[in-house]
């Protein structure tokens, strides 16, 4: 029993991280119907932005909430700026190009970031600054509940709620939904399509920034290729929940985290990644639009 509770906490903590990154994939897909493969590398850059900010301000010598907030701010700023640049210079020129071109460009941007990262930051892993203590909050059934697990789950849920509100209850959100349905008609009706898309990218990237700091604090090892695996898993999570659906991304992330944890706990750790991608294959066969996704007929 004690083990099961511990496994559940571990799994939810991991799942919340997948969820945060999955939200970024899902938002961009929701509006543009494109998969932004560079998203996981934006996340990596966020971690490094926070890392260098911490060195610059020497934050490790003064751990606390303020330092944590500065790290978050640095990562969010770095990611948002990068998201802006990627949208402006890589994707916007291809706005009217076939989907496949955009997809390939996304993979190109992803590789560019990964390998420039190795040159600029160095390929050796860096140690993320320790600014928060993982204090145990309370104990139940012999399992101690730690701050970080709640922090990531909490942030994940808050991010989901904020996004949901933003998309369904604000003017900006209405514009996003309009662009998602039909960008041309939306522009005729006075929606600034470019600005809406930029907003989507910046917001999605900022979420990656938040995710990167949470991961950095929890697993203090960062390197230029850190986004690859976690990005793929988050992508699976987004597809699982129904890509384009905010709630679906969070649900998908949590399911992914929990199922990975349970596989390691009760089957074998070598099947961990196999299960993650097995889920992807299964969902594509059984329910291609995901758990909460809308069924859409492809227009040919």
């Amino acid at each position: 029993m004690q083990d099961l509770i511990q496994h559940l906490i571990n799994g939810l903590g991991l799942g919340a991280i997948y969820a945060l990154i999955a939200l970024g994939y899902t938002m961009v897909y929701g509006v543009l119907q494109m998969i932004n493969f560079a998203h996981s590398d934006v996340y990596m850059v966020g971690a490094f932005a926070a890392y260098y900010a911490a060195r610059w301000f020497n934050l490790e010598s003064m751990p606390g909430v303020v330092s944590f907030a500065i790290l978050l701010l640095a990562a969010i700023t770095g990611c948002a700026l990068l998201g802006l640049l990627i949208e402006r210079f890589a994707y916007r020129p291809l706005r009217n190009a076939p989907k496949l071109n955009i997809l390939i460009t996304a993979i190109g941007v992803s590789l560019l970031l990964e390998y420039s990262g190795q040159v600029i930051f160095g390929a050796d892993p860096k140690v993320f600054p320790e600014v928060l203590n993982n204090t145990p909050l309370f104990e139940m059934a012999g399992v101690s509940f730690k701050l970080f697990d709640f922090l990531v789950i909490g942030v994940g849920l808050v991010a989901m709620a904020v996004l949901h509100f933003l998309i369904y209850h604000t003017k900006q959100g209405r514009a996003m939904r309009a662009v998602s349905v039909n960008p041309r008609v939306a522009s005729i009706l006075g929606v600034n399509v470019d600005r809406t898309i930029v907003f989507t990218f910046v917001l999605g990237s900022a979420l990656a920034g938040v995710g990167s700091v949470l991961v950095g604090v929890k697993y203090p090892k960062i390197e230029p290729l850190m986004g690859m695996m976690i990005g793929l898993k988050a992508f699976v999570a987004a597809v699982l929940g129904g890509i384009g659906n905010i709630m679906g991304a969070v649900l998908g992330g949590l399911i992914m985290g929990l199922s990975e944890e349970m596989v390691v706990a009760y089957l074998s750790s070598t099947y961990r990644d196999a299960v993650a991608f097995g889920i992807l294959i299964l969902i594509l066969i059984v329910r291609p639009s995901g758990l909460l996704g809308r069924n859409q007929t492809e227009k040919l």
């Binding site: 571990n10 390929a123 203090p220 944890e261 750790s269 990644d273």
Partner: protein, 372 residues
């Protein structure tokens, strides 16, 4: 345009092939960047120190040693190309490298095929030197490290139940884990759980929770420092108190940077310790500190020994050809190295003792020596 390109290529070819008669070219390949970067960088410092010393004393047969170091980024795809480059383009008479056994195994067939001797300073997987009569090592092998830690666990720590947590994708880790399991059982212990992770994983809590439920006395984690640091940290978060044991893959300052205080008190087997009273070790540590202003780790010491054994073999040859050098390396006996007395046996492995050290922040506290 085409002719200028041809000219550039021709020039590059000429430059690449220029051979200075007063130099002996020795090639080194290692992970100077990547997840095992501190391994490659430390080894390189040791090798460089040895060759600088020899060159300062006039070199070998009044020729200077020219060390060419190429970065393989810790990737097996890179290893093949850099080693081929060292042999065919730079015409190295001997090759030094790699730390990781998996990478040495990629390089060894290439060296063997070209009949160029290769000495790996610190690849401990037994298979490496079996790949050909041109492949040597100056360190002990995995069975020995597994044996050392099994003996240490059951005799010094009086452990009855051990857990194994291996890096399933890593030859080195799997080798150590297998031998540890066999030896520990022979000594009357029990392996309560044998579970695995993969290099580059960052979350180990699922496996650690599972290990915790089996209440082992010790946990054998024969991995590399980056993962071990995170494992120690997460084990502490789960209140898993059994000591972690490991091999020389732990030997890096980054172990402490990542693991912080969670790594303290754990043990690993190593090639040498800076606390040694052996005069050869003390001399090496002093020289290393003077040159680099830092304390050398085990890999630096092995790099130093590998380079000096190679140099000594070259000095003994009548004519400096790769095959002569090979024959002389094979004759190495009771060489006084920084990591102890080294004798190369018929399997081209080094016969020597190992030490067990305890992590105490930046220090590695000497605990015991285990002889073969």
């Amino acid at each position: 345009m085409k002719s200028s390109l041809t000219a550039v290529l021709a020039l590059a070819f000429v430059v690449g092939c220029t051979k200075n008669e007063n130099e002996i070219v020795v090639g080194e390949y290692g992970s100077l960047t990547g997840g095992m970067a501190t391994f490659g960088v430390s080894t390189h410092k040791g090798i460089q120190l040895a060759f600088d010393e020899i060159n300062d004393k006039g070199g070998i047969k009044s020729k200077k040693i020219k060390l060419i170091t190429l970065d393989d980024q810790g990737k097996d795809t890179e290893v093949a190309s850099v080693v081929t480059k060292l042999i065919t383009q730079h015409k190295a008479v001997a090759i030094l490298g790699e730390v990781a056994s998996g990478l040495s195994k990629v390089a060894a067939p290439i060296a063997q095929q070209n009949k160029v001797p290769m000495i790996t300073p610190s690849s401990t997987n037994p298979e490496v030197t079996k790949l050909g009569e041109y492949i040597f090592r100056v360190c002990f092998i995995d069975p020995f490290q597994g044996f050392v830690m099994a003996k240490f666990a059951s005799e010094n720590l009086k452990a009855k139940k051990a857990a194994i947590f291996r890096d399933v994708k890593n030859d080195y880790s799997v080798g150590l884990a297998d031998v540890f399991a066999a030896e520990f059982k022979k000594m009357g212990g029990e392996i309560v759980i044998d579970t695995a992770y993969q290099q580059n994983d960052i979350d180990f809590k699922a496996q650690l929770t599972q290990i915790k439920s089996k209440t082992p006395d010790v946990i054998f984690v024969p991995g590399y420092y980056t993962e071990v640091g995170l494992i120690a940290k997460q084990a502490k978060e789960l209140a898993l108190t059994a000591p972690l044991l490991g091999g020389d893959g732990w030997d890096s300052p980054k172990l402490n940077e990542i693991g912080k205080d969670a790594i303290n008190g754990n043990y690993f087997s190593n090639h040498y310790t800076t606390e040694s009273t052996d005069p050869a070790t003390i001399e090496f540590v002093t020289k290393f500190k003077a040159k680099y202003n830092e304390v050398p780790d085990g890999l630096a010491a092995l790099g130093y020994d590998a380079a000096r054994i190679l140099a000594a073999a070259m000095e003994r040859t009548t004519e400096l050809t790769p095959s002569n050098i090979r024959d002389e390396i094979a004759k190495t006996k009771e060489f006084i190295g920084a990591t102890g007395k080294i004798t190369i046996n018929e399997e081209r492995n080094a016969v020597k003792s190992a030490v067990v050290v305890q992590v105490e922040n930046e220090n590695r506290k000497y605990v015991t020596t285990v002889s073969p």
